[in-house]
Symmetry: C2
Subunit: 222 residues, 2 copies
Amino acid sequence: MSYTYDYPHYAVTADIVVFTIRDGTLQVLLVKRGAAPFKGRWALPGGYLKPDEDLEGCARRELEEETGLAGFYLEQLYTFGAIKRDPRERVITVAYFALIRSDAVSLRPATDVVGADWTALDALPPLAFDHEQIIAYARERLAAKLDYSTLAFQFLPERFTMRELHAVYETVLGKPLDRRNFYKKMLASGELQETAESRLEGAHRPAAVYRLRHPGEVRITR
Amino acid sequence: MSYTYDYPHYAVTADIVVFTIRDGTLQVLLVKRGAAPFKGRWALPGGYLKPDEDLEGCARRELEEETGLAGFYLEQLYTFGAIKRDPRERVITVAYFALIRSDAVSLRPATDVVGADWTALDALPPLAFDHEQIIAYARERLAAKLDYSTLAFQFLPERFTMRELHAVYETVLGKPLDRRNFYKKMLASGELQETAESRLEGAHRPAAVYRLRHPGEVRITR
DNA sequence: TAACTCTGCGTATTTGAGACACAAAGTCAA
DNA sequence: TTGACTTTGTGTCTCAAATACGCAGAGTTA
């Protein structure tokens, strides 16, 4: 089957920067390419847009195929269309970023790749295409948005402690935040809901367990 | 001439939301379509991506053809790809927004349109495609970015007074800002450079003339 | 029961945004 | 020439939020 048009058309893909937090570091999902170009190199998960799906639908489908997960947070990032970014032909890629709880995922490589794995952001291997650039851009957006949204909660289960939330912020921002001021700020934000629960994890006072006042919804907090 | 591919490709366009300030209101550049679909309707300027130009290059070229202007500020906004956004065929459009000093422009309609004109944002006619949505999104981005960048200066000539700068902010944000606090904030930002010049415009004290400390460069100020 | 560790709350200081008063520097008209 | 008028430019006060840091609370372990 072939497709013919009267004037130039382009391949369109969605690539997704999937962030998670594992072992106290910010990690991103990479797949190992099984075919040329860049065969054997790591790359972002993604794939071609189909005629019957919209852009976000494409990103969501590609990621579901790879992780088995549905309902994750997904946001359009930027569109990359440099002429030679793909050596084969002109490919326009609409980049997305997603946030996922890594404990909820079991990776299952898609058909056109030979492996998929999480990689720490500060230990990235050489990547295919312009994917380093895409990841750098996604990381900036993520860090900036922590400050004025409830994005961070996408990394946590429904119920969590202040320490867990604090750790997410420190990990993503890559710098220490005063624990006590952080507690205050979070409580003052009005986004947290206390629960009756408390959690004992070690030889010390148990931590109160919180949940989001508006779960399953990313809110802009200013 | 025709173009044939092994799997679905898509038309890719760049549409540009061109903002300017005229008569004390925020205005946007619209063109009147000369052909179907939406013949006779107003739409955003834009056009098809050519194989030998990148996305920003496409936006820049389309706008240069329309306004004769070069070197304006241009930023990628968002990519719209809903399946039926163009009734003819699937079109992916990468939206940009540009800021222009309207006094520096003389409009000259491109070949495929019958007219081009500035329109106040609060008096938009019905638009073609999803262009209302694109404009709304661009307006949000512009207003948000005034707060933490030197974007506003793109609406002003190289040398300007505090009053002119103040008017730009009030117009874009659509609300009054205390003049005296505004002065203080701008001076404290460190982005302004005093000049020896002052400007006399009426029966009152003349205003000091400033210029940007880093002209021709949009800076993030936090 | 004392040592230890993390949790939770409080307080004091600094920084920045916003409200508002008033002097300064011009023109214009009497 | 002088006073009315208008816009420019600076300062002060207040309040809210961010930051620095002290310390009691509530568990476990030796």
